[in-house]
Subunit: 335 residues, 2 copies
Amino acid sequence: MATIADVARAAGVSPSTVSYVLSGRRPISPATRARVERSIAAMGYRPHAGARALASRRSNVLALVAPLRTDINVPVIMRFVTSVVTTARSYDHDVLLLTKDEGADGLTRVAGGAMVDALIVMDIEADDARVPVLRGLRQPAVLIGLPDRPAGISCVDLDFAATGYTAVQHLAEHGHRAVALVGPPAGVYQRGTSYATRLRAGFDDAVAHLGLRRAARPCDPTFDGVAACIRQLEAELPETTAFVVHNELALAPVLEILRASGRRVPEDTSVVAICPEDVALGLPVRLTSIDIPAHDVGALAVEMAIHLLERRHGAQTRLLAPALTERDSCADRIG
Amino acid sequence: MATIADVARAAGVSPSTVSYVLSGRRPISPATRARVERSIAAMGYRPHAGARALASRRSNVLALVAPLRTDINVPVIMRFVTSVVTTARSYDHDVLLLTKDEGADGLTRVAGGAMVDALIVMDIEADDARVPVLRGLRQPAVLIGLPDRPAGISCVDLDFAATGYTAVQHLAEHGHRAVALVGPPAGVYQRGTSYATRLRAGFDDAVAHLGLRRAARPCDPTFDGVAACIRQLEAELPETTAFVVHNELALAPVLEILRASGRRVPEDTSVVAICPEDVALGLPVRLTSIDIPAHDVGALAVEMAIHLLERRHGAQTRLLAPALTERDSCADRIG
DNA sequence: TTGAAAGCGATACCAA
DNA sequence: TTGGTATCGCTTTCAA
């Protein structure tokens, strides 16, 4: 493989000049630049990433820790990952993918070995053991999610509390007085994954402030699981006229079960979903929904990481405001 | 950060001894080893990945190129990714994730810069422009999928031709004489993604050999898309009594549409799915299915890459035999 | 505007 | 069984 010295020789300049042509960190005369660039192209030269990382103390790689489980919410995860990878590339970084299962050790491994310049960590739990570890690292970190004590670490996420509030408010404005929440699977709550509890808190707040009645349950995203969930919700609150569904995989079964039991959406029962837009559009009824802006959140996470690296700012928390889109699953409650 | 020299000094040995303790590439006396390991632990020493890559000509990173689009087949992709990442870790490698959108340039970039020791590439098209590029790289590559001309490159995949054949054969054994194929979205065929055409070929082979009639169509995985697809299939072959569905996202709509039009599964209409096991189990009817063994394929791809690196063998193609699991969506055709 | 050379932090060869 | 050290390929400071 050609090295920087080979290129320099071929161009009749010193290695440092080649380096500066590549980095643009000092002015180069047009003539020299042209000769160097021609040699680079002719030899198909690529800087050795390891050598570069060693000398510059920058790997140009971001770590992304994703919950690679098959049991939940896969399409949304994939959207975050896609957004992070493509945005990272636009900042000249690559992405090293770790699973959440590696836990804190994985973080110290890739950070300690200087494999990565910064870390982006998804699926943050309320009392996440990884947060103190991240605080101790040399590299900056951005959390996608919100732990109980985010001090000193950057976070970015949808504002799930506002999302829960907004969903209920919308239903209240349509005259609904009794609303039921179909939540994520029980495991999500048990792990303390904070988006679930935050949404629930906003939901409860709105119910209280607006003087409604409510029922709320976690929900397994299988057909039987959804059926059981709805049965329990209606046993608890028989006058329910609207559902807030915060569980992407449960959406199709919810619609199917309502239909099978003779309740039309939206004429008899209203539904507000919290899910990505294309999911809301891909079901038999076009769902009124609050988007999970995975693309924006992922891109913002990368930008924050890059800015942290450039010391453009310190740790900060950014919660994106929810946006509700009215479609065909919500109607006025008559009478 | 502590370096190997710091550790050596603290342990009263030379840097090379520390290196050999870490790599196990030469015998070390128990006493020395203990002292070194104690220093390593005490100082929290981690070898610098870049320095190591520079000196050893090994990054211990695998590139994984995945189709990070949101429009198709997301959960299966995620399974491949998960399997590759976890298996790579078991061979002491990390995974750099690239999107298919980066194309051949992405491959030459990470390979040319020696960021990775080997590449694993998903979603291979019949005449994939990346294959000749991979052939020219210094690093070995493993394709998940099967191009038209795989010479010189390792491939691993489910045997989709055998899968299509098996699905039809199973239906024929149950007395079905007219079968319809609900395929992947048209885009998948247009891109020439080979699994789609290979399955289709096996499907057609079986139909011919067993003397059946058939219709086959691509299918958009939205509710409306599936409805249109089924309508067209039945217009083309009104006597259809069974569906082979090679489109994960279409499964729920297919069942719903059949049910809505008064056809019971399996009493009136049989369905064989090609999909991951948990998808087959998560629908209102437990589906008779042929598993897409994403976990096995991903793990095998990593193992092949590692063996290629160790020069344990040369390029080879491995197609995994399909396994059909009978569940509740297939019944004998009476009369 | 450019060059020379000192690191960066490992590995692995050559000696002992 | 261990040590010394050249080497990997680049960045960046210091000089010119």
